[in-house]
């Protein structure tokens, strides 16, 4: 900026207005957060500084389940269908309407005709077809996987410029919801030609969507800059705000240290942060900042017992672990009221949830009895043994999950009381990725998955999806429990919501009866924002949405 010497009169006005702004700023900080109703009309402009806990890894939409990826994808890509985060109803977005046949094997979508990608290409039926041909079938040559939300996809057909049909080999009742998820973000046909590496970190600016923001700058691993699209005019019709985003841009800065993120927010260096850990919530609230804790509405934060491993193949050992963990104590000690105790594999707010709390009872006497019966004996307070083998199990630290390490440490202390030695695997990314695929190295897998559809339970446990129980042995592809497979397949192939809910119930009942899963709590994503940040929202599994955000300052 060029420096000019101001005239005395100009200087006086400048001084006065600066004083006014400063005074207004003071007034603002005093009222911020305390009276959110007293805000005026949204203001357009400004850049929001958003601190992420982890760097994004890839912007291939089916890989957007990872929160740092999804947090970006949700700003740059639109979807065919909009899922209301409150009611979980499916509403029009890029598709104005859709219909399906009775067996849920054919879907027809009618599209808006005015939508363009940020590189200027139109978002028409051909582009949509190309998107779902890739997400539904994957491309092994380019290492691009099939989206876990889309089941039984066969092919697409472009009827005309604004009508596209999808065909499925078997019923695929979850497809409409699947088109609303972050993993079905619509990208420009040119972007879809990239390889997995091309979608990877460092190439953010190559990822072209039709969303309210575009990626304009990137410092690999540390920073990403998004800018609003001036000509954006196709927000979901049910959202009050239409037209371009209020913000001019978003600066996403990766800040892994929890205390640094919170400190930056409190000192005004950041406007919004993701992953406020439980121990910091009180501090942030006390300083007058808003804490948001949207639920992830899917499979709960759980310990998955890999029942094909020698020790855990005995149901009595699995039941003993379940009875030996005081889940309430974990919640009370490590977490806050934003983390409700789990009552089933699925979250209370998930579609298809049934209450299984009767099977989730803490009872150390029962746990000790079960282990005695299973032949695991102990002398005094030591670790139990059987035929010279120690009752030692390894659980992974789920680094993306909130306070995983502390929770596991406490659980390991609880299990020590019943004579079980629980060790926590804390390793670098490479070692970790290898170890979690091997039941000999990690017997208990700590994880969650969020998706607001009946299918979510299949995503987590099915052999060719996440396979967290290692029901399919990655070495020889054998299946340990065919019944679980059948039950999960039913979830993804039943047609009516009532049938799908019934199928979900069967799976939850079975997982509880077999004690395959120890659900801990219903996981929220906890965000915090300064009081002047208005309109901060989330999609149905708690990924941030900046479309409505504006800065009241």
């Amino acid at each position: 900026m060029a420096l000019r010497i101001p005239s005395p009169r100009f200087a006086a006005i400048l001084a006065l207005s600066t004083a006014a702004i400063l005074l207004a700023g003071c007034a603002d900080t005093r009222t911020a957060g305390s009276d959110p109703a007293a805000v005026g009309a949204p203001i357009t402009g400004g850049t929001a500084v958003y601190l992420e806990q982890q760097t994004y890894t890839n912007l291939y939409p089916p890989a957007a389940g990872f929160y740092p990826n999804g947090g970006i994808m949700n700003q740059i890509a639109d979807r065919l269908v909009y899922q209301d985060p409150e009611t979980l109803e499916l509403e029009p977005w890029i598709a104005t309407e859709w219909k399906t046949n009775e067996t849920a094997t054919e879907y027809t979508f009618t599209l808006r005709s005015d939508v363009t990608f940020s590189d200027g290409t139109p978002l028409d039926a051909a582009a949509v077809a190309k998107n779902f041909d890739l997400y539904g079938r994957g491309d092994a040559d380019r290492a691009l996987t099939v989206s876990e939300a889309i089941n039984n996809y066969d092919h697409s057909e472009v009827v005309d410029a604004s009508t596209v049909k999808f065909f499925f080999s078997k019923p695929s009742p979850g497809f409409v919801q699947a088109t609303s998820t972050i993993t079905s973000g619509l990208l420009s046909p040119k972007t879809l030609d990239l390889t997995l590496e091309g979608f990877g970190a460092g190439n953010g600016e190559d990822i072209i969507g039709s969303g309210p923001f575009t990626i304009t700058g990137e410092k690999i691993g540390t920073e990403l800059t998004l800018a609003a699209r001036e000509d954006y005019a196709w927000g979901p019709p049910s959202v009050e705000h239409q037209g371009r985003a209020y913000l001019d841009g978003i600066q996403i800065i990766v800040t892994p240290e929890d205390s640094v993120r919170v400190g930056s927010l409190l000192s005004g260096q950041a406007d919004l942060i993701r992953a406020v850990e439980a121990q910091d919530e009180k501090q942030v609230e006390a300083a007058g900042f808003e804490v948001y804790a949207p639920q992830t509405n899917g499979v709960n934060n759980s310990l998955n017992l890999r029942f094909r491993h020698g020790i855990l193949s005995d149901i009595r050992v699995r039941q003993a672990l379940l009875a030996g963990i005081n889940r309430q104590e974990v919640i009370d000690t490590i977490y806050t009221a934003n983390y409700p105790l789990a009552t089933s594999t699925l979250s209370k707010t998930a579609l298809g949830y049934v209450d299984e709390s009767a099977t989730l009872v803490y009872d150390t006497a029962k746990a000790e009895k079960l282990l005695d019966e299973a032949g695991w004996t102990r002398t005094g307070d030591g670790i139990r043994t059987k035929n010279g083998q120690k009752l030692t199990l390894v659980v992974n630290e789920a680094a993306p999950q909130p306070r995983s390490f502390e929770a596991l440490t406490l659980i390991s202390q609880q299990l020590a009381k019943i004579g079980v030695d629980l060790q926590i695997l804390k390793a670098d990314a490479g070692t970790y990725a290898e170890a979690i695929q091997d039941a000999d190295r990690v017997q208990i897998y700590h994880s969650i998955v969020g998706r607001a559809d009946y299918d979510v339970i299949k995503s987590q446990y099915y052999s060719t999806n996440r396979n967290v129980l290692l029901n399919r042995n990655p070495q020889d592809n054998s299946i340990g429990d065919p019944k679980l497979e059948t039950l999960l397949e039913a979830v993804a192939s039943k047609v009516t919501p009532a049938e799908r809910a019934a199928a979900d119930k069967e799976v939850q009942d079975y997982l509880a009866a077999q004690a395959y899963v120890i659900p801990l709590f219903e996981e929220p994503q906890v965000y915090s924002a300064a009081g002047y940040v208005q309109g901060f929202g989330f999609e149905s599994v708690a990924r941030p949405s900046f479309y409505n955000v504006w800065l009241n300052k």
Binding site: Q279, E406, L410, K426
Partner: protein, 282 residues
């Protein structure tokens, strides 16, 4: 440089003076080391509380008479963890110093006494070792050996071999050409006998001082590796690991990192003070 003879008289005089004049910092340093050594040998004598089993009802409590160093997120007593952690840090440091001292002395004595091409080759190897940043070298060695306190200690030891070798070689070269060694050779002493009886003992004084100094550095290096997650696996109460575990609580529960951190600082400074005292006795 003064001649060896005069130097020795000087040293004797100051040593006598030192005995009469008590040095409070040295006494304090020795006291700290003795206490920490006692922690390592008999931790149960200093604290009755289990370092691994916590009381969840008493999580994240500030330091008090009951919990001298406060408690962590799962209610474990931090003082107890610090006391029980001493054995890991001290044994690690002893392993590291031993590895560095033994291998370094071997290389240094060989290079210094044989001389010629062998000296050149060994010293260039040492140059290469010195060129690699210590932490990077230690990390690479741990990746090869696997995680754990012993492996971390061994890795830290390897990184110090070069420095020990340099020091020993320079001393050996100095002593090798002194009159009494030449005389020993002249009177028919065999090579190995002269080396062990005359060269080695007279080269080791500065090396011992350096070993004491390195003891402190090794504790710091092992804690660093523990902090980065390459040392003892949790829930072992290892000092570096404890500091790492507490770093997300710096703003709300300062005692988790600060107090174990202060203990590390005290021990390292004490080891340095002792090393300075040993060095000045030359």
């Amino acid at each position: 440089m003064t001649s060896p003879l005069i130097e020795r008289t000087d040293a004797a005089a100051t040593a006598g003076a030192r005995l009469r004049r008590v040095q409070p910092t040295l006494v304090l340093a020795i006291l700290v080391l003795v206490v920490v050594l006692a922690w390592a040998v008999a931790p149960g004598f200093f604290t009755p509380v289990d370092p691994v089993q916590g009381d969840a009802a008493a999580a994240l409590q500030a330091p008090s008479f009951r919990h001298l160093f406060g408690t962590d997120a799962t209610g474990r007593d931090m003082f107890s963890r610090t006391v029980y952690g001493a054995i890991h840090s001290l044994s690690g440091a002893i392993i590291a110093v031993t590895v560095g001292l033994v291998l370094g002395t071997l290389i240094g004595v060989l290079a210094g006494s044989i001389g010629g091409v062998a000296d050149d080759i060994l010293m260039r190897l040492v140059d290469v070792l010195l060129a690699i940043p210590a932490l990077l070298l230690a990390l690479s060695i741990i990746i090869l050996l696997g995680f754990g306190t012993t492996n971390a200690a061994f890795a830290v030891g390897i990184t110090s071999v070069a420095a020990f070798a340099r020091l020993v070689r320079s001393e050996v070269v100095r002593v090798r050409h002194s009159d009494y060694v030449e005389a020993a050779f002249g009177s028919g002493g065999r090579y190995l006998a002269v080396l062990v009886r005359h060269v080695l003992p007279n080269s080791l004084t500065p090396v011992i001082a350096y070993a004491a100094l390195h003891f402190g550095t090794a504790i710091l290096a092992i804690s660093t590796l523990g902090f980065l997650g390459y040392g003892a696996p949790p829930p072992t109460p290892e000092w570096g690991l404890m500091i790492a575990e507490g770093r997300n609580y710096v703003a709300t529960s300062w005692w988790l990192t600060t107090l174990p951190g202060l203990v590390v600082v005290l021990v390292v400074v004490s080891a340095n003070r002792l090393s300075a005292a040993l060095a000045s006795r030359r």
